[in-house]
Symmetry: C2
């Protein structure tokens, strides 16, 4: 497939260029352009320290219609003051001029070093070049231009047969791996040629976040730049999905969730220094929110992450993190299983097949299941191990 | 000084013995005994998963008078069910028989592996042996018997001249370094020969916690066993301090805080794999609680810890963690300094003496100061760097 990721749906073009922001000749500015205006929704970081592109994109979404998304890597343009805001705005202006739209119809996301002024000339020229040369085949270079310490490009596509011509949801992302040495910025651009209103896109995106980007943890840090965009240009010619009650909503939301989950999984697999993935499911909690607290505490725990690196099924750490998570439960009712093998029942050690557990721990994905009571609440979160390579990658800026 | 730590005040005896819990011949059961009954107060872990000794000690404190404290290391006796509770109770019984007191006048704390049954015979014999052989000179062996992956024993003493004969506050602790591979259990026994009521001891202990044990973070994990005891036997013969309004309260509270802070500092310096300490002060916050949120986020951050290992003054990470901490502030008002050198002002980079900052970063203690506004709130927290050695120490149980 030559049309990949966010450039896979009809009417979507993309390009990645080397503008000189990274300083080593790698691709560092991407543009995603739609031939016709798209409805747009976004989720931004909740960090009080918000990078310049976050403020600009939020302002541009006061009218939820867009023609292009610009993404640059190598410099987060965060904690860069009024100068940083001006550069981000100038990048939107340049892309708008290239595409032939209003600057307010351009969205922007950036990732990289915090607190370092961004080279205005390079960034603006890059935005103009990427937007003016975007093509159906540019999805690969655009995906590469978003990367920082990621080792692989991250794209996903999902086709939906809606009984008519069908449509595609496509996505491109950069991972929760950190730029040496920035925060765990995650950026994703998800597009579709379905027709949907902005409120519908927002509903689908918020729902998808819970099981995808909100369900992964590398190091628990929230960045100054985290951004996920969802845009629909209607190029498929299908009916406009204008409410969550519309019959087209459920398959659209499912496709968006599928693409987001694929991108999130790719982020975990490419997390800095990670050699093993964990899938933690907490069930039997009072409610889903409580289960999420418990699952998040386990995947975030340094001790559990170190155990995972050592392939050690040390359930005592899992139980202890659940106990400190703020989730309400009675430890005496808790059971914990690795790969389906129960190692703790009723809050204490349980006899189990140690060689089967050892074999499971040695694999690429460890599944930790905790049943904490008889409630209806359940949640699954994804994490990875902590290794020397993570420490090395984050010890310095150079 | 032969009478050290919690055995330094008059009337306090201690002993550490090798009972075989650790399995390698190291000391693993300590007893602290007072010749006359002591008033007692305690702070326990807030983890829902509470080790057996936590439940037993809490129950024994329903009458806040004590004659002995038993501490064992190598096995946390957590997630060990009713059997674990029975072993902890039998250890108290054995110590009580040795001392000649009611079992409810014995307190107990344990640290080590979670979820592994504790050898009853070894543990009970150890408690009896330590309690029956406690002497004025046993403070050193008792301190050693509390250690897990700690590399050094932790003791502190503070003399108070109350105008009379004076009194001593002494403490012995095991660190926030983790037992391979248990949680970051911290245990501390603080004693004095001052005379004070249990409510007064509780007030002094809770106040001291804020600037000592609650102000240090190694990896953010709260253990199943965390316990701090404060006991006063009145052997100095001074007047009983019976209220926080008593003129003797302030010097007693200050001495308790001083001992707790010394022990806490020793824990940070001996944290697993740590090579550098950080002292993070947030000021100008809305209130102290808000400042603590910010300071805690910084010392807990994996990214900041990695920067510290690399001696990298990457203030962008500090600012970003403050922004995600839940503390209310305007990032545009924030300034950040390393060793007093301001590197970020008004939320963006500030010119500074880079060689002076580099020299500061290379030292054993890095001081990070963040001023986040004009409010009265301030807090200081202590942390350490994250290194390969931490990962190695926590990868496996063996």
């Amino acid at each position: 497939m030559t049309a990949v990721g966010a450039a896979a749906p009809r009417g979507w073009l993309a390009q990645g260029v080397a503008a000189g922001i990274k300083g080593d000749g790698r691709l560092d500015v991407a543009a995603f352009v739609t031939e016709s205006p798209a409805a747009a929704a976004a989720v931004f970081t909740t960090n009080l320290v918000r990078a310049a592109p976050v403020s600009i994109s939020e302002a541009h979404l006061s009218d939820p219609s867009a023609r292009a998304v610009v993404v640059s890597s190598g410099n987060a343009n965060a904690a860069t003051g009024a100068g940083g805001v001006e550069v981000a705005r100038a990048m939107c202006d340049a892309a708008a001029a290239a595409v032939g739209c209003d600057p307010s119809d351009v969205l922007i996301a950036q990732t990289g070093l915090i607190g370092v002024p961004l080279d205005r000339d390079a960034a603006v020229a890059g935005a103009a070049a990427a937007a003016s040369t975007a093509t159906r085949e540019g999805g690969t270079s655009a995906a590469a231009a978003m990367l920082t310490t990621d080792t692989t490009a991250k794209t996903a596509e999902e086709h939906v047969d809606d009984g008519g011509v069908g449509y595609t949801v496509g996505g491109t992302a950069k991972g929760a791996a950190m730029l040496a040495p920035s925060m765990a910025t995650m950026l994703a651009v998800v597009t579709t040629d379905a027709s949907a209103t902005a409120p519908v896109l927002e509903a689908a995106l918020l729902a998808a976040m819970q099981t995808s980007f909100h369900a992964i943890v590398v190091d628990g840090s929230r960045s100054t730049n985290d951004t996920v965009f969802l845009l629909a240009n209607g190029a498929s010619g299908g009916a406009t999905i204008d409410s969550p009650a519309h019959p087209g909503y459920t398959p659209l939301a499912a496709a968006v969730e599928s693409v987001c989950c694929s991108l999130a999984r790719q982020m975990i697999d490419d997390a800095e220094g990670a050699t093993r993935r964990m899938r933690v499911t907490v069930s039997g909690a009072r409610d889903d929110a409580d289960a999420r607290k418990g699952a998040r505490a386990v995947v975030t725990s340094l001790l559990v992450k170190c155990s995972l690196a050592g392939a050690d099924p040390y359930w005592g750490r899992v139980l202890s993190e659940l106990g400190a998570s703020g989730m309400a439960f009675d430890p005496a009712d808790a059971s914990i299983a690795y790969g389906g093998h129960v190692v703790c029942a009723g809050g204490t050690a349980s006899t189990h097949d140690t060689s089967a557990v050892a074999a499971h721990m040695a694999g690429a994905e460890v599944e930790i299941g905790a049943v904490v009571g008889a409630g209806p609440g359940t949640a699954t979160m994804w994490g990875c191990d902590l290794t020397h390579a993570y420490v090395d990658e984050n010890m310095g800026t150079s």
